[in-house]
Symmetry: C2
Subunit: 246 residues, 2 copies
Amino acid sequence: MDRVHRILIDKLKEHSRIGVDDALAVQSLSFTVRELGRNEDFIRQGDTPKVSALVVEGMVGRYHLMPNGRRQYLSFHMAGDMPDSQTLFLDRMDHAVCAIGSAVVASIPHKQLTRTFEVRPQIGFAIWRETLIDAAIFREAITNNSARDMTARMAHLFCELFYRAEASRLTRGRVMALPIGLAQLGETLGMAIATVNRTLADLRVARMIEFRGGELEMLDWPRLADIGQFDPSYLHLKKPPAIVDG
Amino acid sequence: MDRVHRILIDKLKEHSRIGVDDALAVQSLSFTVRELGRNEDFIRQGDTPKVSALVVEGMVGRYHLMPNGRRQYLSFHMAGDMPDSQTLFLDRMDHAVCAIGSAVVASIPHKQLTRTFEVRPQIGFAIWRETLIDAAIFREAITNNSARDMTARMAHLFCELFYRAEASRLTRGRVMALPIGLAQLGETLGMAIATVNRTLADLRVARMIEFRGGELEMLDWPRLADIGQFDPSYLHLKKPPAIVDG
DNA sequence: CGTGTAATTGAACTGCCTCAATAATAGTGG
DNA sequence: CCACTATTATTGAGGCAGTTCAATTACACG
């Protein structure tokens, strides 16, 4: 089986039941692959794409571009995620998608996907479920950025990213790749760069995380989850990963 | 045709093409109706409902309940909206839904909906699209509450609600029903009640809105849209409503 | 090794929050 | 219909979390 198909099927299995026939249908999907450099946009606000992307390697981020040029990052996506599945049924992109660090994405034509959904509704339902989990993550981000103080906000983001990475087996022990800068962290959590730095320093001094060289190390999961009020149930995964709590 | 079916079909037509056969399939859906009092919860965090609700009358709100008892409102929904369509494919509610003012909702069994999707994929796609617009609204809320100052935040919320109400013909001139308190406004926009009040007073003094007795009057749409950076394209409606700009 | 970018730190400022007190409004029973 | 009570809105004053601006240090890359 092709690596791209494998990644998609494994992802869908994180939350949905995928039968043999369904897996075969997925394997019949064709795609093109594209490599992206750090910070390279691959979909812009206003585009009307005819394909949906699947992250194969690395990480991508979605963001709103404000009139003054500032960005608001909305979510981050790793291997297996479909960061623009909504273009299947919404013509116009209301936000942009760019690579965080270097990344590889596969593009699958909408036509092929919708045709597959008609023949094998369960695949449609699984990808629908995927988009619904996406929405749940957005909801959590609303709460995170509106109702939590800066430290909790950052702790929660790190917990979510690490938990999702671990569920997709993209971590090494307590470490995950997070090739993101302080500025981007600020544009995700709605805080000034100086505050990002100071908050990060606090977490570091308290020996809860280590964050440099594009890597995030979760030194004290229980405390981070507590501070960030992190309850993973909104991620709707079938089987919670085992979090390292050393 | 039944009023409930009519409402759903009209709603789907705001963004999707619904053929005669599709409309007939919608009309075969059965449902139960329930009346709700002000602030009455009808789904709680943690529930695993086997039905999805359709708002028939009034308004409902979705919210996260925080450990300290505070609420974070996530979105508001009016006649035609399905505020918990995600339960079709996500078992557990990660948030609660309550009536804002008194409301009437219809409950449609999941089984009936998914069976209909298998027979008439276009209906599934239309409701899928509905959930995707939902997600777009959540994304906008992230940006609103993270990257805009208090005045812009409030202006944007009012513009969105009014625009959506007008698209569903739920306004009377420049007035819409918004039976919400300052506390709830604060728990939506992430600001303290005192700030809500002062911001509201500013908009009132500047003759941009009137807001009392559960009604919102948009006195100066152009200025509100400007201050709130409101660009309705994220709502993905086929036909923009004509906004009163007197 | 030099240059540009990103991280770090300090200091002053301010928008928003908190708390508290008062006014208005809505709901309830006589 | 009015009086009584509970809830909600309004306003003021003081404090502080987080912003802004600027300067310095560390780091990555050619």
